[in-house]
Symmetry: C2
Subunit: 408 residues, 2 copies
């Protein structure tokens, strides 16, 4: 196949229409043309009858919706800077202490690093990012402001949602709750959390505080839950209960949830039913050797599943590339998915599942949705995940954001 | 940094010398020049005084020894062909049955696919490959011949060692032992095996047969061991015993050895001591979610550790890229290695550990060794593993094999 014909690609964002010709939109059995007008998808048909559109030849290519990174930590990143050897010990407490000591020394949060990472993400086809930003009395709201500034630098080429995240404790770190509240007042969309039992010491008061702030400011909730086994499982129940009581159905996520992979099947099934009932999303990163969320069982139970990178090149670990097709590959690989339809579940988590986690009103390869599109050379969506081919064309809200892997 | 200066790169293999200038050879604290003469490394010094050498500017680059893939299955690959959706059920028995049914239908083994994969491997800096080739009454020695032909097509740009592998049973598949013997007579270097207990039913007779063939033909042994828990652990003891008795010290490897990650620490320590004593190498692939060999403990006990891709784009699963830096990343990531010196252990497995597994007489960044060199833009070896940068220059025995990711 030839590369996307460059001369036909419009570089500027304008009012006129674009027609993607000859591609295979994910979920369509045959080649279909996609008409984009005023930033939205207005037609997907075998042949679109239009005269005023600029035609982009994507013959034989697969067309995916914009990728969604539902869990990362932009504010912590060292991306684009010099290599920084990891300096923490092996325990979680070592990494937390190392983070507090070294972030100042390394000038983190750093708007240039965050921007460099967002540029990489956009070039790799990511349209939406949910990022957990540290909020604590040391850093205050500087992380929130830094990420906001970097997102502004991207001028709409990627959408960034922030989670105000008490990385260094909520109840155990006086002043943090007030700062979280200030962040929410300030327009931050979601409130975060971290192991309400093992990290913060009082799970019920922690969740009461978190959920009541969410209710007061109309925010969503996204809790990091590393606690394993029966402790983590019990916290999952607690989060589901809080979601039910506060009526935050569809606005709550649990990230990591390692415990789900560490309990017996009957208990796992009961928890998944409870999460489905409460409308809680599960977000997995397939990080290191930690348990991956049991995706097929979660989906079968009716639970939404999303995925994200977690940290990328930061004081918590040096890994991560910013490419959500690679992250979907990790999710599929760690889930031992081999068949195409299984591998597509990981891609679904990196697209539609993420869009639901972020509460996007309109998303996907559907009429009326923003034209967030990713064009790759792959015969099937599973091949796109496995091979992670170059992003030949990326559109965000109808605007050409990247071509052949490079940001425009 | 600029890309390697193309005009200074000699494309042909000739008698004159090459001088790599300005690079940082792995393990050297300062920049050092590497002089290559007649295919070998003849000097590594801060400044080499030479007048007849062609100079290649690798300023600021990291120089690694050629990568070693110590476990793959070239004969099974569909690499370079059209995407083939995985068609087996989830059980191991399903994959074995699916393999037998579909390989004929898909024309496997296929010399073009094997060659395409070898080209990819060489371009990504792999200098040596150990590949397990199916031998059974259905396929006979066709796999061995196919891999040999493909290796010949590579005209020395990569070295391929074959393992005659009874994928479909040894004792349970009459005629296989005779074919393995024919393969060894025919010059195949190593004899393979597969789960002597669970797959072949009679572990002692299986290992007696395998090791006595190895002894008779001066071959090495490399056994796939997926069996978990105490069964697998007991088989590890059995293999160590057979190695001691037959005097094959240094010529035996166990691939996968999942059991090592599934037993208690005391038993694990005892097994590792036994393997060190017997001189048995452990080979890990960090495949899917299967346990990775406990690398730090194995090395501390004195056991050699190597790594490899396992299958790449075949009927056993669609994953794999042929890039050993990516594979080293998987090994490091799944081992939860975050610090540079830990991550280097994975790179060591993908280089020096592999060279010992394959019994290479001379290897590495050392005077007198074949000039198998890989040049990348990375500040540290750990960054090379994490970021997997483009291979700017690859030499095999002093010959330029690839530049900027492309085979010459």
């Amino acid at each position: 196949m030839e590369a996307v014909d460059e001369q036909h690609i419009r570089e500027s964002h304008g009012p006129s229409a674009l027609l993607l010709r000859g591609g295979y939109p994910w979920g369509y059995d045959v080649a279909a043309e996609i008409l984009v007008r005023d930033g939205k998808i207005t037609q997907i048909e075998p042949a679109v009858d239009v005269t005023d559109a600029e035609v982009i030849d994507v013959a034989g290519r697969l067309v995916l919706p914009g990728l969604v990174d539902a869990h990362c930590h932009l504010d912590k990143t060292l991306y684009g800077g010099p290599w920084v050897p990891h300096s923490a010990g092996d325990a979680l407490a070592d990494r937390i202490a190392n983070d507090r000591t070294r972030r100042g020394e390394l000038g983190i949060p750093n708007v240039d690093y965050v921007t460099a990472l967002l540029e990489r993400m956009a070039a790799a086809g990511t349209s939406y990012v949910r990022t957990h930003t540290d909020v604590d009395p040391d850093v205050g709201l500087r992380g929130i402001e830094t990420v906001r500034t970097a997102a502004e630098h991207m001028s709409g080429r990627i959408t960034v949602e922030q989670v105000a995240f008490p990385q260094h404790g909520l109840l155990t770190n006086p002043g943090t709750a007030e700062l979280l509240e200030e962040a929410l007042k300030n327009g931050v969309e979601t409130i975060g959390g971290l192991d309400p039992a093992s990290s913060d010491g009082d799970p019920v008061r922690n969740l009461d505080t978190t959920f009541s702030l969410a209710e007061r400011y109309g925010a969503g909730v996204d809790i990091h839950l590393h606690d394993g086994g029966t402790l983590g499982a019990w916290e999952i129940e607690l989060i589901a209960d809080h979601t039910q009581v506060t009526g935050l159905r569809g606005r709550v996520a649990i990230s990591h949830a390692y415990a789900l992979g560490q309990i017996d099947e009957a208990y796992q099934a009961r928890l998944l039913a409870q999460l489905a009932e409460a409308g809680v999303t599960l977000v997995t990163a397939a990080a290191y050797s930690f348990p991956v969320i049991p995706i097929k069982k979660a989906l079968a139970a009716g639970v939404n599943v999303a995925c994200g990178h977690d940290g990328i090149r930061d004081l918590w670990g040096p890994y991560g590339s910013g490419d959500m097709l690679e992250r979907a590959m990790f999710v599929a690989y760690r889930s031992t998915f081999r068949r195409d339809d299984d591998i597509e579940l990981a891609l679904d988590a990196a697209t539609y599942g993420g869009s639901r986690a972020l509460g996007l009103k309109s998303y996907g390869l559907t009429i009326g949705a923003p034209a967030d599109l990713v064009v790759v050379s792959a015969r099937t969506p599973a091949e796109a995940v496995v091979a992670r081919p170059m992003r030949e064309l990326v559109l965000k809200a109808g605007r050409i954001v990247a071509r052949n892997g490079r940001l425009i």
